[in-house]
Amino acid sequence: MSSADREPVLVPRRAAELLARIEENVHRVIVGKDKVVRLAATGLVAGGHVLLQDLPGTGKTLLARALATSVGGAFRRIQCTPDLLPSDITGSSVFNQKDLTFQFIPGPVFANIVLADEVNRATPRTQSALLEAMGEGQVTVEGVTRPLERPFFVVATQNPTEFHGTYPLPESQLDRFILAAEMGPPTDDEAMEVLARREHGDPIADLRAVVSLAEVIELQDACLKVVAAPAIRTYIVSLLHAIRLRQEVLLPASMRSGVYLQRAAQAWALFEGRDFVLPDDIKLLALPVLSHRLGMRGRFKAADVVEEVVASLPLPPLRQH
């Protein structure tokens, strides 16, 4: 009767164990930052894409690389610059003089994990090339649509403070990221630990894959099986509604953000070995999932509004019937 009999889906306990393995592996390189690491992994399991934003040198790229290495699979990095062309990302056809045919040379986007570093430095045209890949999981070059291999996971980083010579991501593109996370400054202990680990070399060189690509796909499938009860849906809808009603909000959270919130919560539940979503998951993920896509009036901060709403919004009744 249960779906477990029909197809082999990861039991929550095993999913939690796999995820713990990934996290542990990443933590060999990243000191502390438990939440950011888990958020990044959540993006991967939820089948979305993650935007990391913080000052340079806070470990954004390192996190992306560590995650990619832990998972195995192809990892490509795109260093975005103003002169980066869309074909530099998607790839292009080249005339093969030997057999007189055009041959498609895939770009860096044809990988399992793509790091788009300093994504706001690319021109909007190039940025939008990433858009189709992220949104649809496919790339169309010269009229031919080519699907991307699963899993496909984009980690984009951007520096939120330096705007000189940048092209800020439009809202539509920001909306494609399932969540945005900030690394945050390290504590003193963490900083000392970082220095200690780097004393005799770079630990990322020793990092090995701990989870196979097949297992990542299994995790992604398991994520879809996690139950989001009607009460959770009610809660998400009322959350979006409450945010929409706030005076400070100019551009409210889209329906897609609600879908992403549910999906991210499903993935988050797996980390704790649960096969159902708790309102706690929603509360925790509301900030990273929602805040980067809200358009705000004046100088109001989206994060403040989301936090206030989450703290005051009543839960749906426990009783279901």
Partner: protein
């Protein structure tokens, strides 16, 4: 326990709602108050209330305790005994005329029809307690939150108040009556509250013949009159309720010279009585409900068309007053239909003063006991108004009303002096009896036939309800003057009363018209009796409709449409346990708080492991749909204890 399992009986739910229990207890208190008021017994109801209170406290405290077999048998036995008593009483009472199983609508109608407002209020309170218990208990069990539609309710209430005020302002009040449409008449349990001392009235001197009707009125003797209602009157018109009539005055004492009687059946048909007077405007019905023991005199508006009183026989004295063989007891009712003759000043002006004694009774013109100076005073008072009999009567009445003061604080007349003389020339203050006596004798001295009438003034008349509440201090005395074309006409010389005390139909043109749309009361017709309730008849259906609306509304609120799912077996129990634990921890889960957050916040208490398990179970139930079984909940509940 085993027996229950064997019989596969479901476990009876524990009534956790304190409010519901309070409603049950209040219902019992209301019933006890009713017994105290109507059973005239205070000890048993009081003891019952105390015992019930103790029982309720014990029951509430021990509601979650498992009862032992003996205790269970005791409780079941008490319940069965009460039920058996109720059934036996109901069956036996069918023939006794009391029907406890009669529904509340009938009870209510009976109460209102009998003008027993305290009882009507008690029934309403009882029904409210019943509905309150049902609502709170049920809503509590299904864990529903009820937020009433405050704004519509407030609007309705404000609208009703505004309408009431407007109605109060615009409904015409009969003249010379206090404008009090809202008369709260609670039973008066104290012996005396009023200040008036009056010797003459039948209420006070329950003596003489077995009916308690007095033979005489002594102006020097004084009785006491309080605020207690003596009777409720439902009437088509506000009138004076006339009782005994006296014609002979001697030495400060009124007596009746003619002691002859005619005996009638309890129901006196119109054809047994004198025909309608000339210039009759119509008839109106009155139903009297006696609430205090009264002398056996039928007080009613005269002249009477027909009469029914539930007594063995009626006697009519020579002055037209009907008497019963025994005193009138509380709860007794009688109905009268009276003529309403046209006694307007224009009508009476045309009556010539004919010489001779009316009804061949020389006493009506006997003024021998009036002092010569009083004779002169009478002549002086009517000087210049001697054209017609009516002018003279009104002149003298106005003279008395304007030149003498009405007071209830009256000293004693000195011995040897006639009380009327003392009133007219020395004291110059008096109450109804002094005024009426003086006027009667002075009219006689002018050659106008007159006699003294006693009874009750209208009382607190409510034109909307067509009801009058007559109290002890409404006892009154006035004058009846003979007009050749109209017979005996009531005239009231007491200051503050209308001089011409003739009955008039109330002027209904506003909301009171509503009541007159409903057919009027006639004796013995149930439909008409219902009609006599006036707008009161609308109250029971209104209450019923309101209750129905509330019930339907609550049902809509609590039901989930389109799902048709019933709660999982353990769901209600688990959530109730969760509530109990929150209560035990003295910290409720805030609305935005998730169960996990609550668990973290409430950590450290003595029941922490239980709270952890409970939170997990609640999360599993509410967010994974995996509610625990009843057994599991019971196990957790056991650990809570």
């Amino acid at each position: 326990m085993n027996l229950r399992r064997f019989l596969k009986l479901p476990p009876s739910p524990v009534e956790n709602s304190l409010q519901a229990r309070v409603f049950v207890f209040l219902g019992f208190v209301v019933a006890s108050v009713a017994v105290a008021i109507y059973g005239q017994d205070y000890v048993v109801p009081a003891a019952g209330v105390v015992v019930a209170a103790i029982g309720h406290v014990v029951s509430y405290r021990g509601r979650n305790k498992r009862r032992r077999l003996a205790g269970q048998i005791l409780v079941a036995g008490l319940v069965m005994a009460a039920l058996a008593y109720f059934l036996a009483d109901s069956v036996l009472a069918i023939f006794g005329g009391i029907l406890p199983q009669a529904n509340f609508a009938i009870l209510y109608l009976a109460a209102v029809f009998a003008w027993d407002y305290p009882f009507g209020i008690l029934v309403a309170l009882w029904a409210i307690c019943l509905a309150g218990f049902w609502m709170t208990s049920h809503l509590r069990r299904i864990d529903a939150k009820v937020a009433g539609p405050i704004r519509p309710l407030a609007l309705a209430l404000a609208g009703a108040l505004a309408l009431g005020v407007i109605a109060f302002v615009f409904i015409p009040q009969p003249t010379a009556l206090s404008p009090t449409p809202l008369v709260v008449s609670l039973p008066s349990f104290t012996s005396f509250q009023g200040e008036m001392e009056n010797p003459a009235l039948p209420l006070v001197q329950i003596s003489g013949d077995p009916s308690g009707a007095t033979n005489s009125i002594d102006l020097r003797f004084r009785g006491r009159l309080g605020d207690a209602p003596v009777m409720y009157v439902r009437t088509g018109a506000p009138a004076y309720w006339r009782g005994l009539v006296f014609d002979t005055y001697q030495g400060g004492q009124w007596t009746a010279s003619n002691r002859s009687f005619v005996t009638f059946q309890p129901y006196i048909q119109p054809r047994s009585l004198p025909p309608a007077p000339k210039h009759n405007l119509g008839t109106f019905a009155q139903v009297f409900r006696v609430v205090r023991t009264l002398p056996g005199v039928i007080s009613a508006a005269y002249p009477i068309q027909s009469l029914y009183a539930p007594v063995s026989a009626l006697r009519r004295d020579a002055y037209g007053t009907f008497r019963t063989p025994d005193v009138l007891r509380p709860g007794q009712t009688y109905s009268v239909v009276s003529y309403l003759p046209n006694l307007s000043p224009q009508e009476l002006q045309s009556d010539p003063l004919l010489p001779g004694n009316p009804e061949n009774n020389p006493e009506y013109l006997n003024a021998q006991n009036l002092s010569p100076r009083a004779h002169q005073l009478a002549a002086h008072a009517v000087a210049g108004h001697t054209d017609t009999e009516f002018d003279q009567v009104m002149a003298l009445t106005t003279y008395l009303q304007t030149n003498f003061r009405y007071s209830l604080q009256l000293g004693q007349a000195p011995p040897g002096l006639d009380p009327v003389d003392w009133f007219l020339f020395d004291a110059k203050i008096g109450y109804c009896e002094q005024f009426a006596t003086a006027e009667t004798l002075m009219l006689r001295s002018l050659g106008i036939p007159a006699r003294l009438a006693t009874g009750y003034s209208t009382g607190d008349y409510n034109p909307v309800l067509n009801e009058s509440i007559v109290r002890e201090h409404d006892a009154h005395a006035w004058v009846e003057v003979w007009f050749s074309g109209h017979g005996w006409v009531p005239v009231d010389p007491s200051p503050g009363f209308a001089a011409l005390a003739a009955t008039q139909f109330p002027n209904r043109w506003a909301a009171a018209g509503l009541a007159s749309l409903i057919p009027h009361l006639s004796i013995g017709a149930p439909l008409a009796a219902l009609g006599s309730l006036g707008i009161l008849a609308a109250i029971p259906p209104a209450v019923a409709i309101a209750l129905l609306v509330v019930v339907v509304w609550a049902w809509f609120r609590t039901r989930r449409w389109g799902r048709g799912v019933r709660a999982a077996p353990g769901e209600s129990e688990l959530l109730r346990l969760y509530e109990n634990v929150q209560r035990r921890l003295k910290r409720r889960r805030a609305p935005p708080e998730t169960p996990l957050e609550y668990q973290r916040a409430a950590r450290g208490g003595p029941i922490e492991p239980l709270l952890d398990e409970l939170t997990e179970a609640v999360n599993q139930g509410a967010y994974a749909g995996r509610w625990p079984g009843s057994e599991r909940v019971r196990e957790l509940e056991k650990r809570l204890r």
